[in-house]
């Protein structure tokens, strides 16, 4: 029996301290395009310095190490219960080592559990696949960007948004406008059209497993993603809300079937500190490959 705690701890460490290549590239592009000698350019430069420091020192990119979201594919017949215990051990260890902040607070008493463990934390999604290895992906999503996410029910009379492409676009841009810089822009949107109240939010976060530079295979969604990105970047909200050219780095869209009575558009916002990593773990508990 091999212990998975060590590779899981390494996955948490790397996720918290080192941004994936696609995110770094997008932030660099934003810096190059921003107007020089502005506060916005200064903010983007600070972000670059932060990325280098975090990696060099192996310390968290952001002090808000956020919600801990694991997405795991296991071989058929795999013992999920035992693995869950190993994840909890790794999370608790990562908290001791300062890769994670103590982020699990009792909602009634206000007491911090101190080790990131408690009802609902961390979040672990399991599914099975027809391979003999584990595909483990981790997203850390801070509270600032979590708070600016929004769910709309169409038709939305206040915004004048109907159950059509125009209405969908309208509510998504409303979310970006309301967020301003508070979600730590430039951000990334994960948007689900359809689903119910809970499936849509879960699925919208799962879209953050995609890379910024990937292309949606659905032609109509691809077009909507591009058009939303363009419009959001014309709002002049800019980095941290200081004004400027880049408000969003990317928009990711997905669709779920809905009930005839319901039409939800659900937006999750990810900050520029887009912490996502993944590993392939073989049955000897060795990391075979980093996924981002």
């Amino acid at each position: 029996m091999h212990s998975n705690v060590v590779p899981l701890l390494e996955l948490i460490r790397k996720t918290s301290t080192d941004l994936p290549e696609d995110v770094r590239k997008a932030l660099l592009k934003a810096l190059e395009e921003e107007q020089k000698n502005t506060v916005s350019e200064y903010a983007l430069k600070i972000m670059q310095r932060n990325i280098d420091l975090a990696k060099g020192k192996s310390q968290p990119l952001c002090q808000d190490t956020g919600s801990i979201l694991f997405y795991i594919k296991t071989p058929i017949g795999f013992d999920q219960k035992a693995f869950e215990e190993e994840i909890k051990e790794a999370v608790s260890l990562a908290t001791d080592k300062g890769y994670l902040r103590q982020n699990s607070v009792d909602s009634l008493t206000g007491k911090n559990s101190g080790n990131n463990l408690g009802p609902g934390t961390p979040t672990i999604y399991f599914e099975q696949h027809s391979h003999d290895y584990l595909d483990i992906r981790l997203i850390l999503k801070g509270g600032g960007c979590e708070n600016v996410g929004a769910q709309y029910s169409l038709p939305d009379t206040t915004l004048g948004a109907g159950r059509d492409m125009k209405g969908i676009q309208k509510v998504i841009l409303d979310c970006v406008t309301k967020a301003q810089g508070r979600g730590c822009s430039p951000g990334i949107l994960g948007v689900i059209i359809g689903g119910d109240r809970s499936t849509s939010y879960s699925a919208s976060k799962k879209l953050f497993l995609r890379t910024i530079d990937d292309v949606n295979p659905e032609e109509n969604l691809k077009e909507l993603e591009e058009s939303l990105l363009k419009e959001a970047n014309e709002t002049n909200i800019g980095p941290m809300g200081f004004g400027g050219k880049t408000t969003l780095l990317g928009v990711k869209l997905g669709v779920l079937n809905r009930l005839p009575a319901s039409f939800f558009v659900t937006v999750s916002y990810m900050c520029w500190s887009y912490r996502r990593q993944g590993i392939i773990l073989n049955n000897k508990s060795e990391i075979e490959k980093w996924l981002y």
């Binding site: 000698n37 502005t38 506060v39 600070i46 952001c62 002090q63 808000d64 902040r101 007491k111 600032g144």
Partner: protein, 173 residues
């Protein structure tokens, strides 16, 4: 816009310092600042006395990652948290303690802006997510208060900072 030249200050700030600042100014602060976020703001707003004097202080909306090594606290990540959650409390605290500056991210509301004008305080925007850059500008942890009650992220951390970079978003004048 011209090249950004930082306005450098050694804390505490005077009302004259504060009123000289304009929106968009880059400011580097050196000296003592105190973290305080949701739990602390509510606690002080409800009338509890602070465990240390906050007269003329600078409050930083931040829940840091802090490690204790060889009995010495070290801040390893310390970017700003979203300030608007403190909007119900901030104006009262500015008035009561004559706070000279509040540091956070995302801006604040009209009530806080009015208190800044009335009592000579400035709201300074730190770059969200830049926890390592800000940790670099924190030289030492002087003390920690209310840690037992509120836990590490919500405690009051007394921090010594050097050239702490922030941008004026709500000026006093």
């Amino acid at each position: 816009m011209a090249v950004l030249e930082p306005h450098k200050f050694t804390l505490p700030l005077t009302e004259k310092d504060v009123r000289s600042l304009k929106k968009g100014d880059l400011v580097f602060l050196s000296g003592i600042i105190y973290t305080g976020r949701d739990a602390v703001h509510k606690y002080l707003y409800e009338g509890h006395e602070p465990p240390i004097s906050l007269e003329n202080a600078v409050i930083y909306h931040c829940g840091p990652v802090v490690l204790k090594e060889d009995n010495i606290w070290r801040v390893t990540a310390a970017g700003p948290t979203t300030s608007i959650r403190e909007e119900p409390y901030q104006a009262t605290l500015i008035e009561k303690f004559k706070l000279k500056a509040v540091i956070g991210k995302g801006g604040m509301g009209e009530k806080t802006a009015k208190a800044c004008r009335d009592f000579g305080c400035v709201y300074l925007h730190a770059i969200g997510g830049a926890a390592q850059v800000y940790a670099e500008h924190i030289i030492s942890v002087k003390n920690v208060y209310l840690r037992e009650e509120f836990g590490d992220p919500e405690a009051i951390w007394e921090l010594e900072v050097k050239d702490f970079p922030v941008v004026v978003v709500i000026p006093a004048s």
